[in-house]
Symmetry: C2
Subunit: 671 residues, 2 copies
């Protein structure tokens, strides 16, 4: 086919995603926001979330300008890499902003719809999740393809991906610290000290907690996967240009992504929840889950068929198709394993609940052991997928395998972002006192979100591991490294330092949460002490101050990790040389991947063990085992929602720093 026609089709794919977003937004905004109280709460959440994002973007702007200047001065082709970097940051930020904006409007509409219809609530929350999903793929594909069509130079493409990464780090880690500081802080004083329920409007941190769901789980998750998506496509393009011819190498990944958007739209449209009268909680959850799974299966099957034809059309053979399938199957199986280790119905979580009977310490030990054990399947599957993808398609095969996991991201992300929106709607139903029945419906919606989250996390982690392997491969090409042997002590030193970097990064993220939570606890205690009539419901708490505290803490806590991730590869590259940086990437990938899986699964398992006990097991709510399980759940919070997911970005971002600065390392070494 004529390359020009392919280019046009690719652009149409991107535009289609954004048009679908427009359609979804219209349908969401058409719904009612409900009572004045509901509007008020929703507005407070939106204002808090937007205020956070504004301040985060401000910090990010300073960071971006500095990096922009460095790139414009040092990195060839000047200043196009810098320009592409800027485009990457702007589109990524835009996707996060748009998606979150709609999410904060959809939450109240979901709650209002749930007053009458459970199915309609599901529909609105899912549509809002899809807004995020298709913003990400639409802006990602359009941005990358326009850059690629203007500058047919792989260094420039890498600049765009680098831009996406740096935004993701701030949004994911910063948002993660915000959301868990607020969550842990709100729980520690509200639930534990004052014995008031979750989402009680008397709790001054309750708005901050709901803001956190949006900035951490919607904007953070969106920018995380924007990053993975752009990374996987860009790495495929760079390696494709080397392995195939220039035109095919560039266009095939973009064409696959465009096709992925079409099948994702079909998948999303096939999610059609039906009203269930008189169904109980369990059945509603199962039904909602099945409804969304339909969308995933439809888009997956269509995608396999479509990519078969696309790859054959471009390459005349199926090698890369098998690489893509290897990635897809690995991602799917890893998601299943994640569900096994974290589901309340399965053995590991039940064992943690049981261990809570011996106290908090044993519950923590058991949860950590479960998290560590749960690394086996993901690691083996990634190792197998990598070896197979390499056999089928060389280094390009690895990048294509990563694409296999991410190609129908629009649909996957819709499911992922559905969760926090449903969670928010349950919060609004509680705060606006909509009554037990509505609250229960919203909680059923929320419960589905917790299950779909496992799927999303599995894919996010697995795709991050494969994407960073693809970036390692890209680094070898860009920095012209044929051999980075473990017999070289510089490489070994790099491996050690890379591994250490992820430990330090995790420590800083977790400490950010515990410091932030501590500050929130003090503020909430102060308000309960100083604002008269607060506990009795006669006076309103000062929600804004809690949001402010969480915001400034999160941004401050982000600074050092952000600098480290960029500085360490550079320092190593300029001192021990480019091979040592390859060691760093592998060290960071290994420990980052292991810790991310461990933390996500331990956190998820603790969370569900607590819910399992609350549902009546091991003594039920209020018993000692329940208290022990709350300790587990609280430890799990920064694990699964802050440090764990941030590591996904870390391991890809170090790869990008290496790739962008790789040519400079060589120049300096040669001097």
């Amino acid at each position: 086919m004529d390359p020009l026609i392919i280019k046009i089709l690719v652009l149409i794919g991107g535009v289609l995603a954004l048009a679908f977003v427009g359609y979804l937004v219209r349908s969401i905004l058409r719904e009612s926001e409900g009572t004045a109280k509901m509007k008020e709460i929703s507005l407070a959440i939106r204002q808090g979330a937007m205020a956070f994002l504004r301040r985060e973007f401000l910090t990010l702007a300073i960071f971006t300008v500095v990096v922009f200047i460095v790139l414009a001065v040092f990195i060839e082709p000047r200043p196009f890499v810098a320009v592409a970097y800027l485009c990457g940051t702007v589109t990524s930020a835009l996707a996060g902003w748009l998606g979150m904006n709609i999410a904060t409007k959809a939450n109240v509409r979901t709650a209002h719809a749930a007053i009458n219809s459970w199915a309609k609530g599901l529909k609105i929350a899912f549509s809002s999740g899809a807004v995020m999903g298709f913003c990400v793929v639409g802006l990602g594909l359009l941005g990358l393809s326009i850059i690629a069509f203007i500058w047919e130079d792989s260094h420039v493409w890498l600049g765009f991906a680098f831009g996406a990464s740096s935004v993701a780090l701030f949004l994911r880690a910063g948002g993660g610290i915000f959301t868990k500081s607020a969550d842990v802080g709100a729980d520690l004083v509200g639930k534990v000290e004052h014995g008031i329920p979750e989402d009680d409007p008397r709790n001054p941190a309750v708005i901050a907690d709901n803001v956190g769901d949006n900035v951490g789980d919607v904007a953070g998750m969106g920018s995380d996967l924007y990053e993975s998506y752009v990374s996987a496509i860009a790495a495929s393009m760079v390696l494709g240009v080397i392995a195939l011819d220039a035109s095919t190498g560039m266009l095939m990944p973009l064409a696959l992504a465009a096709v992925g958007i079409v099948v994702s739209i079909i998948g999303a449209l096939s999610v059609r929840p039906k009203e269930m009268k008189d169904a109980d909680f369990e059945k509603q959850v199962a039904k909602a889950h099945a409804t969304m799974n339909t969308g995933v299966y439809v888009s997956n099957i269509l995608m396999i068929i479509a990519s078969f034809f696309v790859i054959r059309a471009f390459t005349d053979k199926l090698d890369l198709f098998w690489a893509l399938i290897a990635g897809l199957i690995a991602g799917f199986l890893i998601a299943q394993a994640t569900e096994y280790f974290t589901s309340a119905e399965k053995g590991p979580t039940k064992k943690i609940a049981k261990s809570a009977e011996s106290g908090a310490a044993v519950c923590i030990i058991e949860g950590l052991a479960t998290g560590m054990m749960s690394t086996v399947i993901p690691v083996l599957l990634v190792a197998i997928a990598t070896v197979l993808a390499y056999i089928f398609g060389g280094l390009l095969g690895i990048a294509i395998a990563a694409m296999g996991m991410l190609i129908n991201l629009g649909m996957l992300l819709a499911m992922d972002c559905y969760g926090p929106i449903a969670d928010n709607s349950a919060g609004i139903a509680e705060m606006a006192k909509l009554g037990k029945e509505v609250r229960e419906r919203c909680e059923a919606l929320d419960a589905v979100g917790n299950t779909t989250a496992a799927l999303g996390k599995g894919f996010a982690i697995a795709s991050a591991a494969l994407a960073s392997l693809a970036w390692l491969a890209t680094y070898f090409e860009v920095a012209d490294i044929d051999i980075a042997s473990l017999t070289n002590v510089g490489v070994i030193a790099g491996v050690l330092i890379g591994g250490m970097l992820t430990f330090v990064f995790s420590a800083l993220a977790m400490r950010g949460v515990s410091d932030g939570a501590f500050a929130i606890v003090n503020e909430v205690r102060r308000q309960f002490r100083e604002i008269k009539g607060l506990m009795e419901g006669d006076a309103n708490p000062d929600y804004v101050s809690c949001v402010d505290i969480a915001t400034s803490r999160a941004l401050r806590a982000m600074l050092l990790p952000g600098i480290l991730v960029i500085a360490v590869p550079l320092i190593l590259g300029f001192t021990l040389g480019p091979e040592s940086v390859a060691g760093l990437l592998v060290g960071a990938l290994l420990t980052g991947f292991l810790l991310a899986v461990m933390m996500a699964n331990a956190g998820g398992a603790w969370d569900n063990a607590k819910k399992y006990i609350e549902a009546g097991a091991c003594g039920g709510k209020g018993c000692d085992a329940h208290k022990a399980s709350i300790v587990g759940d609280t430890v799990g919070d920064p694990f699964k929602d802050t440090a764990g997911p941030s590591l996904n970005i870390l391991i890809k971002l170090v790869g990008k720093v290496a790739v962008i600065f790789g040519p400079v390392f060589i120049m300096v070494i040669e001097l």
Copy 2:
């Protein structure tokens, strides 16, 4: 010098160590065991410890026979490697058995001596620690040198080191699971449920707890460092033969070790505690600490001077001396960093204590973050030492750097093993009701042990990391690998699987503890329920059943980890090839090292944070912060005494499996 004379001098060094052991044993046994009650308690501990060791050796014997047959059939030169392997296991087991036997006799004598004299108590406990220390270096050096003088074939030497490793794995990990199952189990029912003090004779698990100190901390620690010691010397010999000439390469490491024994004896003899009348607790601890530090400084300085001359005499230059110094300084600084992160007087531990005010969960998060943060200095120092050692002496330099940390092991280990003996004496003083003053003296002795333990752990971890790097280097030589490049997907798969192996291993070790503790809890509860008059002190508990349960649980829990450590490198070697195994070693080294440091330091910091609160900080004993800190301490127990130290052995043992079977991988691949 004539090689024959050097050989004779080396053998004399080994014999000297054993003669010194004889002298120490005589001086210990000359002391009185005290009252009938004390004898009875001491006997119960000794019988329990010996029973554990007997059953462990039985399991080990089966394992050893299987490995012996495999080596005798497959590994050249047949059957000498197998014979050397057998010698390695027997000497290692013998060192553990002898040292522990004396330790279980010294504990009661320490307690008795403390009735009259604090200094004499210190002397006895330290002498008993020295028995372990010099058993290890004496048997290690004699065994290795006799093997080396009979068979001047490096493959045979490796067999001896492999034997030492497999015993170490069982003793360290099995002992670690035993000791923490008993400790956690005893505390959970005794302290928490029944509110009786630690070491109360009414607690049925109290003897098992004291047995645990001996099997885990004495025998386990001893076999761990026997393994490191033999590893470092053997690796230096193998790499020395390649880098230097055959005679120098073999004899110089042995000569260094022999000199190390002499300086260690001088160091140990210079530990001369003086009686302090009317000194308070703090001063006694500071004094005891200073007394033992004198010994370390004396032996270190003498060792630096002596090794200067030894290395110059053998090689005519000082390159390897600098490599040795790099290792020694790195080890020393890592020990300082360990102390900083775990000492109750320093910031990190105080911060953990402070965080306990916000509850158990925040205390756990803070402790984990501290542990992760504490990896920075050890990793950087090991990386720097490795690079420097390589610059000075190539691959041999790395092995020599590892020797630098271990050469005066006799002295270091004396300090290390002193701790659990003092701990035991405090337990005996409590159980035999020797009165408050004696108990306090014994506790002062115990407190010193906790401080010296930090030093020992720092050295154990750092030397394990360097020793496994030395074994990686040996593997490259033995398996004839010039390049194991990260551009090779097989290597990457190996790295991933190696990292996963350490996570699985840690999970199994921790789960072994939580399962074991659970079984002990049930047994103790059963006895309190069924034995009438137990709580009132009218009836005796059944101590033996608790020891039996801990023993069988520990041995059962050891099985899978033991098999995995041997099977995984073999499977990888036969499928993905020898380069992939190099990746496995690096992956295991990286994550094993990081996790070991993190676990040791988090565990130590939690322990001391609890003690800091008990000393009156943050609300003092009994407040909520104290309860939270107990959760931290209990989570830290399997971290610092089971999983953490076992990882040291894991990372060295996989290296040895690789080295022993390396030649076979190549044969199979070539077929």
